[in-house]
């Protein structure tokens, strides 16, 4: 278990650091619609066999860590908890015929190919970002703002996430 989780621990450290040290600064100087949230990849790349409750608790921890940097307690955590919960449904939906073989450790292009990976990642990030901006605005008076921010952030984050995946090509 420990050795299986080690890559995730590293991803946690790298992604949160990346989020707070680089992307936070970028979005602060680039404007309200320029948001890249890369830390959800930590939740996305958690081991496939990890039970959903654990994924949710880990997502909560990750979200809170990011929240301390953003000084918005609970907002990122709420979105992370939601995407950790939604993750199992997304993976179930895109499960290959005959089920997972058991060899796949994480949902990455190395096991499933880029086509399926991109589809699942796109849906995953869309859900996460929509939830995040909903909680951040906290009122549906600004529903159009929420949608615009979600779309803008989704495009930017997708590009960044693909670069990250190409760079590290996670297998465990």
């Amino acid at each position: 278990m420990n050795s299986a989780l080690m890559p995730s621990v590293w991803r946690f450290v790298i992604l949160v650091a990346l989020q707070l040290l680089l992307l936070l600064q970028i979005s602060q100087s680039a404007g309200t619609y320029f948001n890249i949230l890369i830390y959800p990849l930590f939740i996305f790349f958690l081991p496939l066999r990890l039970a959903t409750p654990y994924a949710i608790l880990l997502g909560f921890a990750c979200g809170m860590a990011v929240d301390f940097g953003y000084s918005s307690p609970g907002v990122h955590a709420s979105a992370a908890v939601f995407s950790a919960f939604a993750r199992s449904f997304l993976f179930g939906f895109f499960e290959p015929k005959g089920g997972f073989s058991g060899k796949e450790n994480v949902f990455s292009p190395a096991y499933f190919g880029w086509a399926i990976f991109l589809q699942v990642l796109a849906a995953f990030l869309m859900l996460h970002l929509f939830w995040y901006f909903s909680v951040a605005e906290f009122t549906y008076v600004y529903f159009s703002t929420i949608l615009l921010k979600t779309l803008a952030a989704w495009v930017l984050t997708m590009i960044f996430a693909v670069f990250y995946t190409l760079l590290f090509n996670p297998k465990r």
Binding site: I56, P73, G74, S78, V81, F85
Partner: protein, 293 residues
């Protein structure tokens, strides 16, 4: 805490999701200024709305109670008004004439200078006729409420008749639309008084008799109670003149005026029974006078 975690992990994703999401929500509204403000504003709106709805329902069920208390309050105010109109300041007394205005705020002195003449009892019409030759009202207050025969009945708009019979809980009121009804009324403009009668037929037409011919009455003149009968308080609305004055054929020194009563007897519902506190005294005085026995 450990036990809670165990329960969450055993019961799968949904429960964990809901519980952790609630914790997140709590943290969000507790530690974020913006979200906290929106949350408290929304709950305030929602709570206020809820309270308002609850109040509406409660109001509906206490409607009868409120109507009763308003009627009682109206009776109290009508009583004050009628007594105020009867207020007697002893003008002969120079001391009072000068000082009355400056001392009138002191209640005990005002009570001495003025004496209440009327007591009002709020009542509701529970029976009414307008299309017979002899018309009667039935009110839901009777001798148990202090009602006696010969008490006047008024509504906020006009006069409602004279009590004739009482039972413990109800009273029978002779409507102004009764051939035997005689109500002492005056023309507001001159103070000239006459007798208001109903000559049958249209409940919207009454006749004011015995206004002397030398008064120049015009259509639209206001008719009030005269206060001379010891049944009704003075200056209570009665009606307006609707027809040009014609000479009374039976008595050519007087006008016979067509009056539209200000209280429509077909819709009368909330009334006040008027108790003149000095009626017995006045009646005994009349009886003492030779020729009036």
């Amino acid at each position: 805490m450990i036990k809670l975690l165990q329960v969450l992990l055993r019961n799968g994703g949904l429960l964990t999701f809901v519980v952790v999401e609630i914790i997140c929500f709590f943290i969000v509204v507790q530690f974020n200024e913006r979200q906290g403000a929106i949350f408290s504003y929304s709950t305030g709106l929602w709570g206020g709305n809820l309270l308002q709805q609850r109040r509406k329902v409660a109001d509906y069920f206490s409607l009868q109670e409120q109507v009763d208390s308003l009627a009682a309050e109206n009776a109290r105010l009508q009583e004050i008004l009628a007594n105020r109109r009867m207020m007697q300041v002893p003008y002969r007394d120079t001391f009072y004439t000068i000082l009355y205005d400056s001392i009138s705020h002191i209640d005990s002195i005002r009570r001495r200078a003025t004496r209440p003449e009327f007591h009002f009892i709020a009542a509701k019409v529970v029976g009414n006729t307008v299309n017979n030759t002899n018309n009667w009202l039935i009110l839901n207050k009777g001798s148990d409420d202090g009602v006696k025969a010969d008490f006047g009945v008024v509504s906020a708009q006009g006069v409602g008749g004279i009590v004739r019979h009482v039972t413990p809980n109800f009273s029978m009121v002779m409507s102004p639309l009764h051939p035997e009804s005689r109500i002492s009324a005056k023309v507001k403009k001159y103070g000239a008084f006459g007798s208001l009668v109903w000559e049958g037929g249209d409940p919207e037409r009454m006749t004011l008799k015995f206004i002397p011919r030398h008064f120049n009455i015009s259509v639209g003149d206001t008719i009030l109670t005269s206060g001379l009968s010891s049944i009704f308080p003075n200056d209570h609305p009665v009606g307006t003149v609707i027809g040009a004055g014609e000479v009374d054929p039976e008595n050519p020194y007087f006008w016979r005026l067509l009056i539209k009563p200000s209280q429509d007897m077909t819709t009368i519902s909330h009334v006040y029974i008027v108790d003149n506190l000095f009626k017995t005294e006045i009646d005994s005085l009349i009886l003492k006078t030779p020729g009036n026995e």
